[in-house]
Symmetry: C3
Amino acid sequence: MNYSTFSLRQDGALLRVKLSNPPINLVNLKMIEELFQLSGQLVADQNTRVVIIESADPDFFLAHFDIEDIEKSITDPSKAGNYPDINALQALALSWQALPQVTIAKVAGRCRGGGLEFILALSMRFATVDSRFCSPEAAGGFLACGGGTTRIGMMAGPARALEFLLSARDFSGAEAERYGLINRALPASELDGYVDALANSIARRSMAVIGMHREVFKHAFLPTVEPLFAALAAENDGMRVAMAGSEMKPALDAMLAIKQTRENELDLPATMQRILPAR
Amino acid sequence: MNYSTFSLRQDGALLRVKLSNPPINLVNLKMIEELFQLSGQLVADQNTRVVIIESADPDFFLAHFDIEDIEKSITDPSKAGNYPDINALQALALSWQALPQVTIAKVAGRCRGGGLEFILALSMRFATVDSRFCSPEAAGGFLACGGGTTRIGMMAGPARALEFLLSARDFSGAEAERYGLINRALPASELDGYVDALANSIARRSMAVIGMHREVFKHAFLPTVEPLFAALAAENDGMRVAMAGSEMKPALDAMLAIKQTRENELDLPATMQRILPAR
Amino acid sequence: MNYSTFSLRQDGALLRVKLSNPPINLVNLKMIEELFQLSGQLVADQNTRVVIIESADPDFFLAHFDIEDIEKSITDPSKAGNYPDINALQALALSWQALPQVTIAKVAGRCRGGGLEFILALSMRFATVDSRFCSPEAAGGFLACGGGTTRIGMMAGPARALEFLLSARDFSGAEAERYGLINRALPASELDGYVDALANSIARRSMAVIGMHREVFKHAFLPTVEPLFAALAAENDGMRVAMAGSEMKPALDAMLAIKQTRENELDLPATMQRILPAR
């Protein structure tokens, strides 16, 4: 299959996915569609045991959900999801979470919004110490509703999660490790080596061995399944409140007015603070 | 409303609470009553979105529950709580936990016993790296029963919580961060700036946005509610065992005999080890 | 009672257990039997309040389950467990977890496989920063089935636990602390002093005080009990899959062929990578 928003490279039992959706690796509907297709392909792929997701752009692992596509999904009913309690990004994340392969995000640069929500559903996350993680939604009058509010809460605990989400600032990779959002942060010069060594180790395991570990975890974490889905539904309830309110639409319009340029996105939190009204 | 154990300063949507109950910021019944009144005031306060709790005393954020008042509540039935399964400090903590505002403790100096139990129920906690956190109760023959044993267990996990509680020593802010009791520890020169920047960011969010995040967490952490209340009841069961036993009363008497002076309280764990009998 | 795989030293309310099963402190059936007997002794021991488990061998705290005994339990029905859903190492760990005393592992050197699984059930764990923790099972075609897969999952969370278990590499004490597997890692020169001070503090508490803390935790962590046992059963399901497959037996045979020598065990992960076939 041919994909336009990422490239694939097979290396034995290891599949490398290189995200490339210029100019700034926005998560748009096209990328979501293609990542869905890739997960469908992986379900039936008997040869791949480990997947590494990395970025072709050293500054942007994934920028965030394309605001133009958010606006479309609000204003154009044909672009809205078909199910009230699960949205496209939540569904994408769940489909990747359910894959039999071990999936690893290797983050350098910025990973924000919907991009962060996506990788929180992968098996593992590694990053450079000075990569930047951010959920900018609260500053725009809404919330991370692709599973991010839920998963950040469950991973970091309520106190640190609320700080991360409501501050809407960039957290470094080192901070993300301390808050439990990633397995670990590494100096930029060590990240590739560390993740490659790990992926190669895991690629030596059979699917039977990987599966028996997952089966134990399935039982150990069974009590989190029902709260996960209830919280995902609450994310959508929150999004409906936001869409009915008077904050979100003007914020998105203001962001679109200055375009999603590389210059504006490098320090997105500062850009948002600058153009959005003080309360 | 006028308060005698703390002062208030409103700064836009931010309310600063400065604890001041000389000489050493003991948590006494008067302070508990006033903190209850403040929480009642905040429930109806539409203008405040963030609350910072700090201390006027650089050495004592909050010393601990006033031992004179503990003795009264044991010996004077009219000072005992009305409900067997919830006590005054547990109720205070729960009332603050339920506030719609984001509540932040900013700790320098010592934060021990009931003072620590109170801030564990706030939304977030920050401290200087050399602040001191301690649950001295076990050394006095009883247990933290204002929600502290329960919340420390849930935040730090059983192994680290048992170490913290049974050692009854001072843990530095840096250690408290590693054990998950606070969001993070910062150098003394950076604490104010960090917490102010965070509070100002959160003050820019609407109550609608803050509320939709909390609603997601409510579902994500629903399985912890029943265990929280069961464990709070077990704290009171433990306290009844302690009050019926022969360790606690002599320990409290010994502490009262030397007075709760600043000198004795600066290194409270050492003071307790010195005056309480070895087993 | 006389034990051959460890020595005991009573020091007031503190019992020191020094593991000594030369040449490399393998966990064999004899040691398991004796640790079971010791737990039975401790249940009825009114004088001991704290137990420290340490090793007489500075290089090996506990090597791992003796592979000869694993093979016997697979091939000799009389050595197999009597219950399908709980095995000997799980039962040993549960019996120690249920002890009234506070049990502390003090780790220097290597702590791998079944040795690690055992100490994960103790009350607390401390280690030197350069000690080595490893679950080598996945590299041998099976899984940690003495409660380790379950407890590592619950302590480290699924992402870090899967990294730890599937990589099958040595993690330093410092890394084990970051992943939540131990209370803390300390410089080698500070470990004894830290653990002794803690043990002496806890030894000053009465069993009533220790017990009232545990009782609160029992309620706070009640929701983890059912998943713990379901996951232990899943470990045994996984082990049956491994024993019926074609990976584990040849891997164990290959390991036995080169003997469990000190030289081969010092860097066990490297030894396994060298002699086991690439996939």
